[in-house]
């Protein structure tokens, strides 16, 4: 099988491609090829140039030098996604949907079906319904994108790309925001496409996934090509090591015992909002608390409600034993509670601004001296954040929107930590972050807890929850289904609660 594949000419190939943004070089003479019916994974650290290479391969960025070939013929790809007409489709790392439009409108955007000049809306709606049925998704074609959760948006993107009947499907971290269940559904689709002969290129920081689905793997480091080999020739550790360029020790830090007598810094009783019912739990000093569950189970809403971002219908919130109700994020911040959103593009960062204003925005009052912003202090904060979270930007003046996805996430983390919270809620902390940095972040979380800070981790990645949390709450349908501690924190237990197979109405 592998031999016959190798004999073919690649459908899409890059030869010694380099790319610079202005004076900043990002890719250095990288070669890459993609064959029909294979899944070729591209891995590398944050900022290695993966997204850039994908954009070059799909015509969104012109290469600075080097050659692109389609079916062996040298080509110049047309810009702005017009390469779709040649069968080359890209799913961007940043979600790329028109928020105010409906699912159906987005899926068919740019290639609407018309009859006699009028949109054939019934046909398109029906087609979308069928596609969703195929992948087992329950999203209405008429729903507005703005009303969907991030994972749902990502699935819409995937469905949109698959609907294009592409010869070459290039996907930039499609699984970063998906839970395992959705990832499974997604991979089933990928297998189908592969069987049809579609060439698939994809990026993921979840190396198990890479191992499970990819036929070949290419590794980039700092914009340089490092290796391309069949997946079987790599072990997980080898992949990680080649990416990062150093030996990786344990991904998860040793967990120090939680102090059961520690002060309860946050107590929630009977919290009820539009989508959540009667949620109660508590958080102790120095504890790392996990929140697990399926997409849309309401984890985010619990904490947005606590921080004053969502209306609360009823319930009691106590911080250090004192009852509070935050009217705004500022009040929550001043009380030492900060929430890090999972939606870095829409809610997290000002994409048009540089790193510095983004970095200090949440904690800005701390940087005011007299009447004015203390720019030196800001600069120090930025340097601190870059060091602490290993933010890699080749150009320090780069707009946040032009940072690589993973580095945006790191910038967001740094921004939250600048407010020096006592209780920090991190929604999907390692979304889009490479293994090397993941390790750093887990250690960082453990260190925070050791220093007496309390951390809530909301995550759809079960290993992460299992690896760093002292206690785990599992949510389903806006309710807490159960709490797990110690050895009970394992995948089967979590899944059973999350799927509703097991449930004790849990109260704090």
């Amino acid at each position: 099988m592998l031999d016959s594949v190798q004999a073919e000419t690649p459908v899409l190939a890059a030869e010694r491609v380099s790319k610079s943004f202005g004076a900043i070089p990002v890719l250095f003479s990288v070669s890459f090829d993609l064959r029909a019916g294979e899944v070729h994974a591209l891995i590398g650290e944050n900022g290695a140039g993966k997204s850039t290479l994908m954009k070059v391969l799909s015509g969104f960025h012109p290469a600075t030098s080097g050659t692109l070939r389609v079916d062996g013929e040298e080509v110049t790809l047309p810009p702005n996604g017009q390469a779709e007409d040649m069968g080359i489709v890209l799913i961007h790392q940043e979600l790329n949907l028109a928020e105010q439009m409906t699912v159906e409108e987005n899926i068919f955007l740019g290639r609407e079906q018309s009859r006699n000049g009028f949109l054939d809306r019934a046909a398109m709606t029906e087609a979308v319904r069928k596609m969703f049925l195929d992948v087992g998704l329950d999203i209405s074609p008429k729903a507005r994108i703005s009303s969907l959760s991030i994972a749902e948006k990502q699935m819409v993107e995937i469905v949109k790309a698959m609907s294009r009947n592409a010869r070459v499907l290039i996907m930039d971290e499609p699984t970063a925001v998906l839970t395992e269940a959705e990832t499974t559904v997604f991979f089933a689709q990928v297998e189908k496409l592969k069987a049809k002969g579609t060439a698939i290129m994809f990026v993921s920081h979840k190396l198990q996934e890479v191992q499970a689905i990819a036929d070949r793997v290419t590794i980039l480091r700092d914009g340089q090509w490092i290796a391309t080999k069949p997946t079987g020739e790599f072990t997980l550790d080898a992949m990680a090591q080649m990416m990062v360029g150093r030996e990786l020790s344990d991904l998860y830090p040793p967990m120090n015992e939680a102090d059961v007598d520690a002060e309860r810094v946050l107590e929630i009783e009977g919290l009820t909002t539009q989508n959540i019912r009667n949620v109660s739990f508590d958080l102790r000093k120095g504890e790392v608390l996990g929140f697990s569950g399926l997409i849309g189970s309401g984890r985010t809403e619990v904490f947005e409600a606590i921080c004053g971002l969502k209306d609360i219908d009823s319930g009691v919130i106590r911080v250090h034993g004192e009852e509070v109700r935050f009217a705004s994020v500022a009040d929550a911040r001043d009380a030492g509670i900060c929430y890090l959103t999972k939606d870095r593009k829409e809610k997290g960062l000002l994409l048009e601004q540089e790193m510095r204003p983004n970095m200090t925005l949440l904690a800005l009052p701390r940087f005011v001296k007299g009447f004015m912003i203390d720019r030196d202090a800001e600069q120090e904060a930025l340097a601190r954040g870059i060091r602490r979270f290993d933010i890699r930007a080749r150009d320090p003046k780069v707009k946040a929107g032009d940072l690589s996805g993973g580095n945006q996430q790191k910038l967001l983390l740094a921004k939250i930590m600048e407010a020096d919270p006592k209780i920090v809620i991190i929604d999907e902390p390692t979304r889009g972050i490479d293994v090397g940095t993941k390790q750093q972040i887990y250690h960082f979380i453990a260190a925070l807890a050791a220093e007496g800070m309390s951390v809530v981790v909301i995550s759809s990645e079960m290993p992460e929850i299992i690896g760093v949390c002292h206690r785990v709450f599992v949510m389903r349908d806006g309710q807490i289904m159960g709490a797990l501690t110690g050895d009970a924190i394992n995948e089967t237990e979590i899944v059973r609660y999350a799927a509703g197979l097991k449930g004790e109405k849990h109260h704090g």
């Binding site: 702005n80 790329n96 028109a98 105010q100 740019g110």
Partner: protein, 317 residues
């Protein structure tokens, strides 16, 4: 829903002030008057949905009316005072509208100048051109020609004045174009997120230019039914129509920043604005000087009434 309720409330107020408000004659006047602003506002809905703005429409109407009159007056000698001359005038109007719209679109897209500036500039240019052509005064249509052209404004057709028919046709066409064609979706997509639209291989510049061209066409149509009304154009023709048109669009629920347009709402918005003026003429309870105050209050309240409808949507942005 919101704008419809606001309009209903206005009608009730109007009727309670004076039952003649609901007389056939007044309703006809009201509809006919709404036609100008309404037709222009339909065009503005496209421009605004695609994230643009056009401040030049009032002046554009004035200059088109002026040139139409000049052309028709000059054609009387060769073509006579018959329908041919009027058709020539209308053709001329349409060409000018398309051309003026294209200029606005071209400068905005290819010139990469903010739409606000481009159309503020052309607003001044058009306005001063009509003043220039009219020598500061009024351009009047040839008297005999007026007889030929007059029915276009004053005659009814199946019980409705012709301008109202034009309004209805433009509205339906606009609604279909915005809601039932790929073009309409492209407008929404561009207004919603230009980068997404561009990445979806939509020819952003071309579509944006088209929205201005449509706006120009709508202005031309409005002018064609405006000219036979009084048979004249001057530098005061169409003053502030741009604000009225934009207000109609926004009262109707379209979001000023783009990405969400409703033709139906726009039509209601135009009716609401005309009705406010009409009601104020129906009562002498309020000092004339305070007409503007009433107008302002009613507009704000009308939009506030329907806020529940779309407030969420716009605040999401």
């Amino acid at each position: 829903m919101g704008p419809a309720i606001a309009l209903l409330i206005l009608c009730i107020i109007g009727f309670s002030l004076n039952s003649a408000f609901l007389s056939e004659g007044n309703i006809t006047n009201l509809l006919t008057r709404s036609a100008f602003i309404g037709i222009i506002a339909v065009g503005a809905t496209f421009v605004i949905t695609a994230g643009g703005i056009d401040l030049s429409v009032g002046s554009m109407a004035a200059v088109i009316a002026g040139i139409m009159i000049i052309v028709m007056n000059n054609a009387v000698e060769t073509l006579g005072t018959g329908v041919a001359t009027v058709l020539l005038g209308c053709g001329c109007s349409v060409i000018l509208g398309l051309g003026a719209g294209w200029v606005n679109g071209f400068l905005t897209t290819k010139g990469k100048i903010e739409a606000f500036i481009v159309t503020l500039g052309t607003m001044g240019i058009f306005r001063s051109l009509v003043t220039y052509f009219a020598d500061g005064g009024t351009l009047s249509l040839d008297f005999d020609l007026r007889g030929t052209y007059r029915p276009v404004y004053y005659e009814a057709f199946f019980g409705l004045p012709i301008p109202v028919w034009v309004f209805i046709i433009v509205s339906i066409a606009g609604w279909i174009l915005l809601n039932r064609t790929a073009f309409g979706r492209y407008c929404t997509a561009i207004g919603s997120n230009e980068a997404v639209a561009r990445y979806s291989a939509i020819k952003v510049d071309r579509i944006k230019t088209w929205t201005y061209v449509i706006q120009g066409l709508c202005v031309a149509l409005a002018t064609i039914i405006y000219v036979p009304r009084l048979g004249s154009a001057s530098s005061s023709t169409g003053v502030l129509w741009e604000l009225e048109a934009i207000a109609a669009v926004i009262i109707g629920g379209t979001v000023l920043k783009g990405g969400y347009g409703r033709i139906g709402g726009t039509i209601l918005g135009a009716l609401i604005l005309t009705t406010i003026g009409n009601i104020l003429n129906f009562t002498d309870m309020i000092s004339n000087y305070l007409n503007g105050t009433m107008q302002g209050l009613i507009i704000i309240v009308a939009v506030w009434l329907q806020r529940a409808d779309w407030g969420r949507k716009s605040s999401k942005e």
